[in-house]
């Protein structure tokens, strides 16, 4: 405070400093808040606006309307991509969660070398998103790759996995299911949190292992199942690297997920309006699935404390 400052300014400043003293938290979250407004909220809102235009990077906007959405739902290519994306997510997410829970369940018994197994199962999750692993996947599933080499040992002539539209999507799915390690680690931590008294009581009551799993383990870890379900769903719907690098969306568009179309429209053809509309359709599909999961949780997710969440 400079001594010569006029009285009004002094008063105002002390008011401001009181505000900050009472709302110091706001000051600390300010970086995030600014980032949220500029890098999240503004892009989020403007992509909705763009989605109702024919915005082209070089031609600008000459027309407004719902034509992108009309085209999206009438173009065979786009509706197919939407269905493929849903198919991809519905196939990979449950399988990934089941694999993760199954292995975590076994690891939760007093297993010797649990750390070793945990690491082995976890590595694919850490590396799986890299381009290097996508390249490896392509080598594994080539016509004369490791997988067909293995099949040949059993006298089976393996198919052309990556050039056959019936199989290519399946290969992309396997890449993601293979990365179940992170979900497994989360399940394992949750399983460790289930009180052992419950199992002891159940054993005295004569409940078998399967019964115990269904009546104790599963209900107790439903919050974590729910968490894994949501995070995996959101990720699966956005899958890009696998199909982009391994199959380029082919053969015959069988692995063209919606994120690939957004990329192609937006950054290859510079049709930002169309790309925005597609990304919003995808967003709404993700939202619907997420809301369904949230609504359904009162039927199957068990929270220990009374108040629910």
């Amino acid at each position: 405070m400079t001594p010569s400052a006029p009285k009004g300014a002094l008063k105002k400043r002390s008011g401001l400093s009181r505000f900050f003293r009472n709302n110091m938290g706001l000051v600390y979250i300010l970086p995030w808040l600014i980032g949220f407004l500029i890098f999240k909220l503004y892009p989020f809102a403007s992509s909705l606006v763009y989605s109702f235009s024919n915005f082209h990077l070089f031609k600008g906007i000459t027309e407004w309307g719902v034509m992108n959405y009309v085209e999206a739902f009438t173009s065979k290519k786009i509706t197919t991509a939407l269905l493929t994306t849903i198919k991809y997510s519905i196939f990979t997410v449950p399988l990934k969660l089941v694999a993760a829970l199954f292995i975590a369940y076994i690891l939760n018994f007093k297993i010797k070398g649990v750390n070793f197994f945990r690491t082995a199962y976890y590595i694919p999750s850490i590396l799986g998103g890299s381009v290097a692993i996508a390249v490896l996947w392509k080598a594994l599933f080539r016509d004369e790759g490791l997988i067909n080499g293995l099949l040949a040992m059993f006298g089976v002539q393996g198919p052309s996995w990556l050039s056959n539209p019936d199989y290519a999507l399946f290969i992309i799915c396997i890449l993601r299911i293979w990365q179940f390690g992170s979900a497994m680690v989360i399940f394992l931590a949750a399983l460790k949190g289930v009180p052992t008294e419950l199992y002891e009581a159940a054993t005295i009551d004569g409940a078998g292992k399967w019964r115990q799993f269904r009546s104790i383990t599963l209900p107790m870890i439903t919050p974590v199942v729910f968490y894994n379900l949501i995070t995996q769903l959101v990720q699966a719907f956005q899958e890009f690297n696998g199909p982009y690098i391994i199959t380029q969306g082919g053969p015959r568009n069988s692995t063209t997920l919606i994120s690939l179309l957004v990329y192609n429209f937006g950054f290859k053809q510079n049709e930002f309006g169309m790309a925005s509309a597609l990304s919003w359709i995808m967003f709404i599909i993700v939202m619907v699935f997420t809301i369904l999961a949230f609504v359904s949780q009162k039927y199957w997710v068990y929270y220990g404390d009374e108040e629910g969440k």
Partner: protein
């Protein structure tokens, strides 16, 4: 009827059997990848074994050669870490500060803002890509030699997963510690630096590790925002080398791929427990 002991032995055997078989299937592709880099191109696809019959370093030797142009493998890896490391540092700083604000203070609108922050966890990045690209283009960040489009946003805690994780951790640090520090004359920022940050260290390390992995693996970011070949990171270089060599020099492509993930592997093996603790802590208590 078989006895309890025999049944336990069978079930133990079954558990190890499953763990080993499934684990083997999980890891075998990676082992095969390593072995393929020491095989000749003729041998790679002629069998499924791991031991090269005529071990050769051709794959590695060729991996070190460039394809002409301004970029080679080592240079692309340097490029990768020249933005990954700033991203990691900025993410930790901005996330810790934001988490401190949410975790330790009350202010108007806190509940709503916290809910907003959590909801961005579920916001697909794809929805933001087009306007973000235009925005960064306006700022002159696209194809900037300093990777500004990739780095600058991390100054603003945009990866809210980390904020969430740190808030969860902070709940376990007794508030009495803050109060004691304030009685000793620390202001709130000094409290964060001297009291909270040291207690938060394991969580901060986890955040750093995950951001390191995710940023090193990131492909979409550089695909959109790096267009100068000399500035390509490893993710792009590996993709290009695969396109260039497709069908004839797989030992080279696989060697390039493997080398590109060696730093990640080293970091993972040096810090695997922090990874596993970090991922469990962020989710279970929620």
């Amino acid at each position: 009827m078989i006895g309890v002991k025999a049944r336990n032995r069978i079930s133990t055997f079954f558990k190890y059997f499953v763990l080993i078989v499934v684990g083997f299937i999980m890891v075998y592709p990676l082992l095969w990848m390593v072995s393929a880099t020491f095989k000749s191109n003729n041998e790679i696809f002629s069998g499924i074994g791991l031991i090269p019959q005529n071990p050769t370093l051709d794959g590695y030797r060729n991996a070190m050669n460039d394809y002409g142009g301004d970029i080679n493998l080592l240079r692309s890896m340097l490029n990768t870490y020249s933005y990954v490391i700033p991203k990691v540092i900025f993410t930790i700083l901005s996330s810790a500060i934001t988490a401190y604000g949410f975790g330790r203070f009350d202010f108007k609108g806190k509940r709503i803002l916290f809910a907003v922050m959590l909801s961005t966890l579920f916001l697909p990045q794809v929805v933001l890509n087009v306007p973000q690209y235009l925005l960064y283009n306006t700022f002159g960040w696209v194809d900037s030699p300093w990777y500004l489009a990739l780095i600058i946003p991390t100054l603003f805690a945009v990866d809210t997963y980390f904020v969430f994780m740190l808030v969860q951790f902070m709940r376990g640090i007794p508030k009495e510690l803050d109060e004691a520090a304030q009685i000793d004359g620390c202001n709130t920022f000094q409290t964060l630096v001297k009291v909270i940050a040291p207690m938060l260290k394991p969580a901060l390390v986890s955040c750093a590790l995950f951001q390191f992995m995710w940023s090193s693996n990131d492909f979409m970011g550089p695909l959109l925002y790096v267009n100068t070949p000399a500035k390509y990171p490893a993710a792009i270089f590996v993709k290009l080398s695969m396109d260039a060599d497709n069908g004839f020099a797989w030992n080279r492509v696989l060697a390039i791929s493997l080398i590109s993930i060696i730093p990640s592997l080293i970091v993972f093996f040096a810090a695997q427990n922090q990874f596993i603790e970090g991922i469990s802590a962020g989710s279970v208590k929620g």
